[in-house]
């Protein structure tokens, strides 16, 4: 399988984590693609942390509403049954455990479920936005990312070295190479992408896969 096919596998795989009615917050970028990959018959409710539930697909050209944008600032839509609220209620929803799952990218994630995805000191400091609240508040935290950095460096580690987004909050790591569950014993390899061998994924991972 080529890179593109493996990334597509990743997204399909994450999309299978949900059941109908789940309230889900998808991070900017790759995670957002999960919404289009849901298995048939599964309907989830997407939360947009800037202030609404019922996030729908992008609007058709000419149908953009300047007041309906997602948390990435892109034009969006609100599905029937959706609701709008202020940022205080939005984060009450997030922090209060009312979001069933969040899917985020990561710079690093480790075998204790620690996550680093918001800054590289002295270089990239965009800010944590809503990520720290999401990772602490969502019932289930799913990291979805390429297994290694662009230069091949492992991103799944024994211990994160970058500043953390939160400690001990990640439940599942889905990459283009496989699916790892965070357990008290460490990372349990649940599944490998088609064509990936155990030797390959372990070699690309700094933590021991169980």
């Amino acid at each position: 399988m080529d890179k593109e096919a493996r990334m597509e596998w990743l997204i399909q795989r994450v999309a299978r984590e949900f059941k109908t009615g789940d309230v889900v917050n998808l991070g900017i970028g790759m995670p957002v693609k999960v919404a289009n990959a849901l298995p048939e018959g599964i309907t989830i409710i997407l939360q947009s942390e800037n202030g609404f539930l019922g996030l729908g697909p992008s609007p058709q050209e000419g149908q953009e509403d300047p007041d309906v944008v997602n948390a990435g600032g892109k034009y969006s839509t609100i599905l029937p049954g959706g609701s709008c609220f202020d940022s205080a209620l939005s984060f009450a929803i997030i922090r209060g455990g009312h979001v069933d799952a969040t899917v985020l990218g990561a710079l690093q994630v480790d075998e204790e479920g620690n996550l680093a995805n918001w800054m590289i000191p002295g270089k990239m400091v965009p800010g944590m936005g809503g990520a720290m609240d999401l990772v602490v508040g969502a019932r289930r935290v799913i990291v979805a990312m390429e297994h290694t950095a662009k230069n091949g460096t492992p991103k799944v580690l024994k211990q994160c070295s970058l500043p953390l987004t939160a400690a001990h909050q990640v439940n599942l790591i889905v990459t283009d190479m496989g699916v790892m569950e965070v357990t008290p014993q460490g990372l349990v390899l649940q599944e490998m992408a088609p064509g990936v061998t155990f030797a390959e994924i372990q070699a690309a991972t700094k933590a021991k896969l169980l």
């Binding site: 947009s48 007041d67 202020d86 205080a88 939005s90 965009p126 800010g127």
Partner: protein, 224 residues
């Protein structure tokens, strides 16, 4: 008591060195016309409290480009690279705060609370310098209230009593900031007669609002 004033008069309420809250989320629901005129003036030394610093090219980002701020308190500055550049060069003080903590700090000030305990930021650099309190064996950070001299808001409609109604995702930080500043100025798309906004429809009660600024119509009508 709420007063309807021209854009210029609203901008004149803001003085060098003040702490200013600005509603909006990457430009959505931001009081763009007030910010544009403010950026044109030579205002200096402001402290900004906002979710972000806008997206390069928009009204709020122009205030960063024009170096109107001494300090920025925000949850995200990634959509305006100029902010990060000034920060890394040591020319602008930037305090990054988790979004849920930021809005709750503002709410806390508006609600007369002394602070709140949040699990967000525990075991991260966000906890530096903060008191940690354990409740039922779970650790929390004690976060303190955040208030401002002026809050600059944007609403969809208002009535002469100052009641505000926001539209869709443009609500975001606006209603919370309305509660936490000494002077509250709202740029509104339209002002309707008293009694036309149903009491159940009001999102910010008029008692929080001091000045209304009717927005100039855009080239293209935005809200029908």
């Amino acid at each position: 008591m709420v007063e309807q004033i021209p854009l210029e008069a609203a901008v004149n309420k803001i003085e060098d060195g003040m702490t200013v809250m600005v509603g909006g989320f990457i430009g959505s629901g931001a009081p763009d016309q007030i910010l544009e005129l403010l950026a044109q003036r030579g205002i200096k030394g402001l402290t900004l409290i906002a979710n972000d610093t806008g997206i390069l090219g928009d009204a709020l980002s122009q205030l960063i480009v024009n170096r109107c701020f001494r300090k920025v308190i925000a949850s995200h500055i990634g959509t305006n690279p100029e902010t990060g550049k000034q920060m890394l060069a040591g020319e602008l003080e930037v305090q990054l705060v988790p979004q849920g903590t930021l809005v709750e700090q503002i709410r806390s000030a508006g609600a007369g609370l002394g602070g709140f305990l949040t699990p967000t930021g525990v075991a991260t650099i966000v906890e530096e310098g903060k008191q940690k309190i354990s409740i039922d064996h779970k650790e929390y950070l004690l976060e303190l209230p955040l208030s401002a001299d002026v809050a600059l808001l944007r609403a969809y409609k208002a009535d002469p009593a100052g009641n505000l109604v926001y539209r869709r995702a443009a609500r975001n930080f606006n209603p919370v900031m309305a509660t936490a500043a000494k002077t509250v100025i709202a740029q509104v798309e339209k002002i309707v007669p008293l009694g036309e906004i149903d009491p159940d429809e009001v999102m910010t009660p008029g008692i929080f609002v001091h000045y209304l600024v009717q927005a100039r119509p855009k080239g293209v009508a935005q809200h029908g």
